[in-house]
Symmetry: C2
């Protein structure tokens, strides 16, 4: 079973009030040293079988059109490391 992970993060120039709230809360809880926190979304898309180039292309299209707003968010779609290992193991 293959898995594509899509990470969606607010662009650096976009204000991120959720991340700001977390960053302000951490020192109150004694967790100091963090200069900045950004909050985004993570999607896990699963497929039967391995992640082929077609699957990855479909996942990238979904990432760019459905899962993120390209005006305010950066998006990365990558094959999940665990399922990549499984594919490479099967090929070896």
């Amino acid at each position: 079973m293959g898995r594509v992970v899509v990470d969606v993060m607010p662009k650096p120039e976009i204000l991120d009030p959720q991340g700001k709230a977390v960053a302000n809360a951490l020192p109150r809880l004694g967790l100091t040293g963090f200069t900045s926190v950004r909050q985004g979304k993570r999607f896990e898309l699963e497929v039967d079988g391995p992640v082929t180039d077609e699957v990855l292309a479909a996942a990238r299209e979904a990432a760019a059109t459905v899962l993120s707003n390209p005006i305010i968010e950066d998006v990365v779609a990558v094959v999940d490391a665990a399922s990549l290992d499984a594919v490479q193991g099967a090929q070896a």
Copy 2:
């Protein structure tokens, strides 16, 4: 500058209506082949300097107490690969 990435995903046995909605929307847009979609959160915690063991321990405590609900969510905190490369490059 170091960065810790915290991934928070709903536990497998927990219903995930957001992920379900995405999974139902994809075929309507011609993106077929995905058997399941899960939606979670991704946090990027930044620190000045490298990610030491203390920083990672603080990030893990934040991940378990502030950033996730351990009853319904699984959480993983890892050093961001890009900042890890930078640290290992500096040590080499």
